[in-house]
């Protein structure tokens, strides 16, 4: 699992220090407070080790800055000289420095060496899986070869996800009880199952087979999780990153989604989520049983610096940009009802 993160001068963050929960980690905050960047950074660093490629290269292909990863250094009136990060997992310490100084090259610590140095044989113990906010399964055919062949500017997260989606299914006999349970929850919510023929995905409901381009986006979302689970990618070594799982989902489908995620957490999957959704937050809070869960509120102070307040309890999560706004709606309703000229 990922235990700690330190950041300095990275994208919108002047300085950030977080201790993570081994279970579900949920980030909220207004647009522009860096939620997605935290997820992308953690993913990039872990994926680099897992795939045995240089972290600088992985950061570039995930963030896709124009030019170089120097664009990831925080932009401020007084330019910082560089950005640094430090990620502590249960086994490793992975550090890096992205420099803006002329003539200096970005450096990554020796913590990476066992995995990425040319003739290394050591396998990174953690498996990062990122489900992107843009659901791509309908556009999957042709994407992978095109990505390999041409300079496409899609984030590599989408490429990695599709590669994972195209893996073969686990045999039921080697699937864990949790895997089978989650598959069942998701298939019930979908009303059918997902199959793949060549490069095309279909939703099969009874005798009908629907190509994904015609399937509701919310259902494709659930299908995305189903594929990751069915392909054996989410076990106790896995770390799942999901940016805005609520997008395209009618709130009614949130329940099976959250139940699945909580089951996976109980089986040892560490989960990172960024969200804007009140029902998602509420359902996590209401459905959690003995799950490890921590919330993080990202917000800007008066000087525009992004800060982070962690909380183990939803009620004390503060500032809560989402409920604050619901309160605002409540006040608006009172104003409109009682104060306006009818």
């Amino acid at each position: 699992m990922i235990e700690k993160l330190f950041l300095s001068n990275f994208t919108v963050f002047e300085s950030l220090e977080i201790d993570f929960s081994p279970g579900v980690n949920i980030f909220i905050g207004e647009n522009g407070t860096g939620k997605t960047h935290v997820l992308k950074l953690l993913y990039s660093v872990l994926a680099a080790c897992r795939e045995k490629i240089h972290p600088g290269k992985k950061l570039a292909s995930v963030f896709r800055p124009r030019g170089s990863i120097q664009q990831l250094v925080r932009r401020a009136p007084v330019l910082p000289l560089g950005a640094t990060f430090r990620i502590e997992t249960c086994d490793d310490v992975l550090e890096g420095e992205i420099t803006k100084e002329a003539g200096k090259v970005s450096g990554f610590s020796s913590g990476f060496d066992p995995y990425i140095v040319a003739d290394s044989v050591e396998e990174f113990s953690l498996r990062p899986v990122f489900i992107p906010a843009k659901e791509l399964l309908a556009d999957a055919p042709g994407f992978i070869p095109l990505y390999n062949y041409r300079e496409i500017s899609n984030s590599e997260i989408e490429f990695d996800f599709l590669n994972a989606a195209y893996l073969p299914e686990l045999r039921k006999s080697s699937a864990s009880a949790v895997t089978l349970k989650v598959i069942d929850i998701l298939e019930s919510a979908l009303g059918g199952t997902v199959i793949r023929e060549d490069q095309y995905f279909y939703l099969v409901v009874g005798p009908m087979k629907y190509e994904f381009s015609l399937v509701a986006e919310g259902h494709r979302k659930l299908a995305a999780l189903l594929l990751m689970v069915r392909n054996g990618l989410l076990d106790e070594k896995s770390i799942l990153f999901w940016d805005e799982p609520e997008a395209n989902l009618n709130p009614q489908l949130l329940l099976p989604l959250i139940q699945s995620l909580l089951e996976l957490e109980r089986a040892g999957v560490q989960i990172f989520i960024a969200t804007h959704s009140y029902p998602l937050l509420k359902e996590f809070d209401l459905q959690r049983k003995e799950n490890a869960l921590r919330y993080y509120a990202l917000y800007k102070d008066e000087e525009g610096r992004v800060l982070c307040n962690p909380s183990d309890s939803y009620l004390y999560l503060h500032p809560n940009a989402i409920t604050d706004h619901f309160d605002r709606i409540y006040d608006l309703e009172l104003d409109r009802t009682l104060l306006s000229k009818v």
């Binding site: 309160d327 709606i329 409540y330 009682l338 104060l339 009818v342």
Partner: protein, 158 residues
Amino acid sequence: MPRFLESDLIIDFPDDVNVVQLEKETEKVHGMQPVDFIFTHGDHTILLEIKNFRQRSDIKKITSETLAKQEIVPKARDSYSYLHLMLRDHNDFFLVFLFDSPLIEYIRPLLPVLNSSINRYLMKEAPEPWKRQYIKRSVIMTPENFTTYFPGISVTRK
């Protein structure tokens, strides 16, 4: 200064507000259960129902459907019937549900949704919707914000 006690709350009305406890007038009418107070506010007649939920046993009454369907809307409807029969229905009627409960902090963001539930029953209780919109609008308020919208009326805890 008319002063009333309702559950745990003390409500003080200014002298120039005509406030009535309908129950005193309707007690002999079998089956009629009105709201706690009615008073005039500008051009409107306010039907004020106050609920204080603190006991475990209250849980059944406070769920979204029961609260709207059984606890609040029938009282609003009875109050309207009474005032209509007494030719006291010239103004537009507003329903104010004053929700006093330590639970408010958990559900404050959801109060507008609960209000929609109340509105749904105000418009329709029978299989056919009412032909007459007898309550113009409804809102849910708390002791904390009541005075902001009704200046002069103070709501304090015993």
